[in-house]
């Protein structure tokens, strides 16, 4: 007996919302990517808890694929950030205004 299933879901939701707040409100591109990582991690936590609740291994398999997606996303995202930094000299999302949007 660990804890009720709802408590784990609540923790995962709080973690997801923290990541979302970080991703929405920061302007630094690196912090935006960090927020996305936190959100993916929270989704993995919910999957592991569901896998334990229903005694099925499918949830854990999905967490493995989430790890793969997170790793490739961060590799491409960081390469893009370095590329943009070389091009515009800034990693602030507000400075990318060449289209005057």
């Amino acid at each position: 007996m660990i804890v009720p299933y709802g408590n784990v879901l609540l923790l995962a939701m709080l973690l997801f919302l923290l990541g979302a707040v970080c991703s929405i409100s920061r302007r630094n591109l690196l912090m935006i990517l960090i927020g996305v990582e936190i959100m993916l991690n929270a989704a993995g936590l919910a999957f592991v808890a569901a896998s334990l609740k229903w005694r099925l291994l499918d949830g854990q398999a999905f967490v493995l694929f989430i790890f793969g997606v997170a790793a490739s996303e961060v590799a491409v995202g960081l390469a893009l950030i370095v590329y943009l930094q070389h091009r515009t000299g800034s990693v602030n999302a507000d400075h990318y205004d060449s289209m005057k949007g």
Partner: protein, 172 residues
């Protein structure tokens, strides 16, 4: 309250506190170091919830590979910290309000689900059982994931190379 529940709540507090500290840091390096603590605690929580293989992967991939990659990029990229505090609050406020609203709605939703108050029993999926299950039932998604990683590798390489070639053309 069993010992497992105590461990769960301690880990939950550690995870939430370190993540909260991470997202309010001004310096990216401090945020990354706090996030390493958060991912370690999440790995321990995975172990508690019966996924030892994923716990090890969490430490290796998230706390190890991804965060170290972030640290390297933070070292190479020059981050200017000229964000003035007024617009900062202007940005934080709507995000926090929306998050609190969705937290309450989601909390009500979670505890309305039948079975959400049922206690989780301890269990453990051994790594060998997990691996056999993975390659029996999910061999095709594993191939797709490996392909995704290959494409990510090629994409990162391409972005890195094109930038350096343009730079050398600029020098000429």
């Amino acid at each position: 309250m069993t010992l497992y529940a105590v461990i769960f709540y301690i880990l939950a507090i550690v995870i939430l506190a370190s993540t909260l500290l991470a997202i309010i840091q001004r310096q990216v390096v401090h945020a990354v170091v706090y996030l390493i603590i958060s991912f370690f605690a999440t790995g321990l929580l995975f172990y508690l919830l019966g996924a030892p293989f994923l716990a090890v992967l969490e430490v290796i991939i998230y706390a190890g590979a991804i965060m170290v990659l972030f640290l390297f990029i933070v070292m190479t990229v020059r981050v200017e910290s000229d964000e003035d505090t007024k617009t900062e609050i202007h940005q934080w406020l709507p995000a926090v309000v929306l998050a609190v609203i969705s937290f309450f709605v989601g909390g009500v939703l979670i505890f309305e689900i039948p079975g959400s108050k049922m206690s989780l029993n301890t269990g453990m999926a051994t790594p060998s059982a997990f691996g056999q299950f993975l390659f029996k039932s999910y061999w095709f998604p594993v191939e797709i994931a490996s392909f995704l990683l290959l494409i990510g590798l090629v994409g990162a390489l391409y972005l890195g190379r094109r930038e350096s070639r343009e730079e050398s053309e600029d020098r000429r």
